[in-house]
Amino acid sequence: MKNISIIIFLVTIFSTSLFAGGPWPQKKGKGYFKLAEWWVIFDQHYTDNGKIDPNVTSGIFNTTLYAEYGFTDRLTGIINAPIFSRNYNNNLVSNTTKEILVPGEAYNGIGDFDLGLKYGITQPGAKIPVALTLTLGLPTGKSVAGELQNLQTGDGEFNQLLQVDAGTGFKLGKTSAYVSAYTGVNNRTKGFSDEFRFGLEAGVGLANEKFWLTARLLGVESFKNGDTAETTTSTSIFANNSEFTSIGVEGSYYITKKVGVSVSATGAFRGEIIAAAPSYSVGVFLDLSK
């Protein structure tokens, strides 16, 4: 019997998307490191026909270490590690008797780690750099937890995302700016549908590049070629074919030349089988790339 679990609200995708990276590999021996807290709390979700339905309030919190390190000028290693992940559901309480009908639950553990390699297809310093990135999604989190087996810190499957990034930096007057885009295919296992992913990102460096403001449009479209509750042989709780298009903004402020803090918010404005609520992140970073 397949060990298929719920993968409902694309926690990994949302949280990973905070670190899009762009087509710029790190220089050899340089790096970028970030410790961030990411969370989403939602009491409604997009259904399979794109409408919004309520659900018991759930929260997911990930404390994540993210790192990029340049092995060479064109090859960068990337790790995105949710070292602490918490998923909880609220109590369900009778409005008539005020009794708890279904007790809330919480599970704490680690999330699914991502390991990636980014290779600069173009020479360093190219006007329009292009990079190829392979990301391996490791099922290090817990896919089924809690008495009702409805909590999770991972999707329980191994996946491989191959993506191409391209972009360019330029000046808006005296202000530095950049735009980048990516597209990729995520091959998923254990009955989950494969995905087409895309993203657009634009950023400007303000206050002598001490403050970077970034906007992102991200999308995941399911190929809908995996199992559903109807076709799987498992009796486990199973959801598949999640997809969304989201927008997000992030502000990063350099406290010193290398150390800074960041704040971001992301929300899906359309989706299927995904949370209909914004996610947020705060973090501190160490930028050794300069």
Binding site: N49, N55, V56, N89, L101, N150, E230, V259, V261
Partner: protein, 229 residues
Amino acid sequence: MKNLNLPFLILLLGAMLFNGCIKDDFIDDQIDPVLRFTSSLDTIEIDTEFQLEAMFLNNVGQEESPTLTWNSLDAEILSVDGTGLLRANSVGTTTISVSYETEEGILLSDQMDITVGATTIISIEEKSGTIRTTSSYTLEGTFTVQEIDGNLIIEVGEAWKASSNLPGLFIYLTNNPATTTDALEIGPVQVFNGAHRYEIPNVGINDWQYLLYFCKPFNIKVGDGEINN
């Protein structure tokens, strides 16, 4: 690295504040109290006894066992005592009723016509209903319910259609269509198109009032179907 201390502290404090807050979600689960017979009896053999059963459900559909008032319209044909024990005295047909006045002063009652004859005949009932979605997920169909040899048989018709993208769709029997509390879980839905059947042992046809379709992982109702006479 001194500059890292404050942001780290803020981050840790934020994580601690956010990581631990299971709160309450309230659902409106109030329904009208109900009193109904759970026994099915068409004819009782003369000079025998039969124990009638009735069920009182409070304003959240929970069964309670208050003292019920039993009455026979014609005690010369059928007499009934304070526990619902029938005594068949003479041939004929009369009406047996059960009633209860709630603490809020609501008078509830149910009644049925019973014949006294040569042999005891338990009436075989078939009930039916329509399944409807109460969400954005597809859920539609019709069903019939029968009690055979003490087991409840639910036959869902050919027109049944449900979304298979919904995580954890389960079916229940309940007396309160808003909640699975005190409901009987039949199991996960495994047929999403067309006719299928459930057989639930040791369940009477009058024990439950609704089919309930529930998304179990997210504790949210998806649809229901009232079991009608």
